[in-house]
Amino acid sequence: MINVQHLSKAFGPKLAVNNVSFTVERGEVLGFLGPNGAGKSTTMRMLTGFIPPSSGRVLVGGHDMVEDPIPAKRLIGYLPENAPAYTDMTVYGFLNFAAELRGVQGDARKKAVYRVVETCFLDAVLHQSVETLSKGYRHRTCFAQAIIHDPDILVLDEPTDGLDPNQKHEVRGLIRRMGEKKAIIFSTHILEEVEAACTRAIIIDRGQIVANGTPVELKQRSDVAGAVCLRIAKVAAAVVSQKLAQLPTARKSAVLKEDAAAVTARVFPQPNCRNGELAVSISDLALREGWKIEELHTEEGRLDEVFRSITLPDTTKEERK
């Protein structure tokens, strides 16, 4: 539904978005990640037709956003960054206005407003002025505006920003549910959100896409992905690391923690190791040695680690070492 081809945007000499291409189909929820200033919002503004690209193009439902903007915009619901809303209106008036501009008429409009009020839990503030809303409620009001015409495509710039934990949970659930029938793209700085709601994620850094894949695929790029973590009760750390080092399936191992009660270690698999093979050989070893295993699991990898390793500038990485 969304087809972005070689999209670039320059602000003066500065390239905010640099040759970005991706597609989002119906039934997909695409998470958009990246450090501050990476170009997420700028990309979304081009997607929704707010700013024209410097080069490249955006096709929305087959319509070119620059040449044929009206039918393209009709398909999209958009929550801009910081959730702007007219402060001189009531929540009801604002939603009604949005519905009217979206071409929702008469009775259907009233229904649409009450539907989104229910979905976004706005009953309590329905006739309150937008000016006096708390940040979270303003955010929800603007979110409600984005889904008022039940669009095929949703573009959400940090939809859970400023929401309380319950509402965050609610919105993630909503995004996941709506994602079954729509094409959704949303940006976030909260990585759990990606795992909770996305079918795919893109990491963008300094205007360029640096990673594109399912959350599981991305996590596998983590250093620790596939490593086995284990805790053994009442055994000497030296013994453990010596035995682990002798395993043919292990590339290397490290003791993470040791005290009188237990030793915690992480074992990294050989590159040619099959899934789970390392864990099996470790449990065999434990049986032979009579170790008391308190915990044993294969790590999936951590998204925040992947994010950091991909987006930190090389110089910072050096400094950390």
Partner: protein, 250 residues
């Protein structure tokens, strides 16, 4: 076509509701009426003149009153939209920028029209006291409305330039003042003395709202004057659209 009118009307409605949601609209109308009353009766000498006409006592003040009052109405049109960030919502709706510009402009023009219409007691008074030429009065009202529209379109343009309403206000007052002075007799006389070229004076004066408003308030409903104001509105609104596109392009 139908839907574009609907879009314009939707935007106008919101804008008008915005005016009346705050006390600003009422304050504005009261100030406008008080000032017109003051100038007409106290400064313009409506009664002393003993004429059954509104030209010299009532309409003559409008360019000067509007000079401050109209930019005050126009200054928030786009600057507020940019300050709140709602411009991003508005322009990603399935409407054209033109519909948004026109909708907003028409709303504030309508508002000014309403304020102007509320001066009707003056017309009643002059009709009660004498036998004025109501055609001349009508022409004066048309001129006044066009003048307000022209100033307003300039306010629209300056409000698109900045997110600061005060700057928007000042810039549009300056532009409007220039448009008045270019054809104001004291200035044209001065120009004649300085330039010795009646041609130049004529060209400068042609850009003045005064020359055109003057004819209308005297009852000469000349299409040329109406076209002058209309083209000024079109030009300013077009510039507004260029400025808005410029912002979005970055």
């Amino acid at each position: 076509m139908n839907s574009s009118l609907a879009n314009i009307w939707t935007i106008s409605k919101r804008e008008l509701a915005g005016y009346f949601a705050s006390p600003v609209a009422y304050v504005f109308i009261v100030i406008f009426l008080l000032l017109t009353g003051f100038f007409t009766f106290m400064v313009g000498g409506f009664f002393e003149r003993g004429e059954a006409s509104l030209t010299m006592s009532f309409f003559v003040w409008h360019p000067w009153l509007y000079l401050f009052l109209v930019p005050a109405v126009g200054m928030r049109l786009w600057s507020e939209e940019r300050r709140l960030g709602t411009i991003e919502l508005l322009l990603t709706m399935p409407i054209t920028a033109w519909q948004a510009i026109l909708g907003k402009f028409l709303a504030s023009w309508l508002f000014l029209g309403l304020a102007l219409a509320l001066t009707f007691p003056v017309v009643m008074t002059v009709n009660y006291l004498g036998n004025p030429d109501n055609g001349v009065i009508f022409s004066g009202y048309v001129g006044s409305l066009m003048l307000a529209g022209a100033y307003l379109s300039i306010g629209c343009m300056t409000s698109a330039m900045t997110r600061n309403q005060v700057i928007s206000f000042i810039v549009s007052v300056v532009i409007c003042l220039f448009l008045i002075l270019a054809g104001w007799p004291p200035v044209t006389r001065m120009l004649e003395i300085v330039s010795e070229s009646p041609r130049l004076v004529e060209i400068v004066a042609a850009f003045s709202v005064m020359t055109h408003f003057d004819a209308l308030q005297r009852g000469v409903l000349d299409t040329n004057d109406l076209i002058f104001f209309a083209s000024m509105i079109v030009f300013s609104l077009f510039t507004t659209s260029v400025i808005i596109r410029g912002h979005r392009a970055g």
